[in-house]
Symmetry: none
Subunit: 156 residues, 2 copies
DNA sequence: TCCTTTTCTGTCTTTCTTTGACCTATGTGT
DNA sequence: ACACATAGGTCAAAGAAAGACAGAAAAGGA
């Protein structure tokens, strides 16, 4: 298992069901896992971003810390956030994958739905020669169409 | 016996009766068989395709892997036909919609899946300026990816 | 034999992870 | 205020895989 995955799991473990918030000491954690302190930043940057459903803040200097807060939204809010704010006129493949995964993890859609959506906007599905910008625009439209389909299904 | 056949047999051996899913390390396997790593790709490309009833995915970088999932027997029958005959490397919007509907009506996929697929390849989702031919190719790839995703589902 | 298909290797590319060097902010004691 | 210690931040380079693809080698077939 990759170190980053281990650290990710460790942090998520710290953050129990009730406590949707956790505070860590970068250096301590790095010491504990025997890695460079910036490794912690890497984990945060790749696994605890707003797209992943987390917001982080920190304080430097003596007694410094990093606080990680998990944002919880209702299914409705989550969907409308994605539709109206997050997915604009374009979205890259990787972000799309993350958003799909997050939808499943937050319980907004089933894992099967999430995987289906992720497949539809995966790099493989888009492996046709055209400018990245056009791909992003199309991905956004397709993602939106699928999310609307789900939202509609919900309202019946 | 050819090396490729040996590797094929080895992988199928790993994937026992119950365990219809296996994860390999490309470099390790190549090392074990004393061959070029790309030989593994050759084996996968020629013997573990959807037509053969397998779907693969992978992760690059440190701690990377290749995962091979065996498609359910019942799903495999439809899959080859859909991928090769019905979809091919291009499909227009209307045919795609009809296909989705038929898949749901014949019970090959759930209604929810069909609706999601239909939404993904709907004219609305594709309302972006580009040649019809490219759209058809893309629609085919997207449908293909989604069908593979469905076929890949095992015991969840 | 000669041609075609299949198998195999090598090289270059892309992606993800890990480390390290240097930078900036904050707290504390003088 | 100033200096120093104690944090965390940034970024680039190195490392660790897997992917793509062209071309060599081997196997089959006519």
């Amino acid at each position: 298992m990759r170190l980053s995955d281990t650290i990710e799991a460790f942090i998520k473990e710290m953050m129990g069901e009730e406590q949707q918030e956790v505070e860590i000491k970068r250096n301590e954690l790095a010491e504990f896992f025997n890695c460079a302190p910036s490794q912690i930043n890497y984990v945060l940057a790749t696994r605890f971003t707003p797209d992943h459903g987390y917001v982080t803040s920190s304080q430097r200097g003596g007694g410094g810390y990093i606080r990680i807060v998990q944002v919880r939204r209702s299914a409705q809010d989550h969907l409308s956030y994605l539709l109206n704010e997050r997915i604009g006129n374009g979205i890259d493949a990787q972000s799309a994958q993350i958003l799909c995964r997050q939808l499943a993890e937050s319980g907004v859609v089933s894992l099967a739905d999430a995987q289906l959506m992720a497949a539809a906007v995966s790099p493989g599905a888009f492996s046709v020669p055209m400018p990245e910008q056009v791909k992003n625009a199309l991905r956004a439209k397709i993602l939106r169409a699928m999310l609307l389909s789900i939202a509609q299904r919900r309202g019946e």
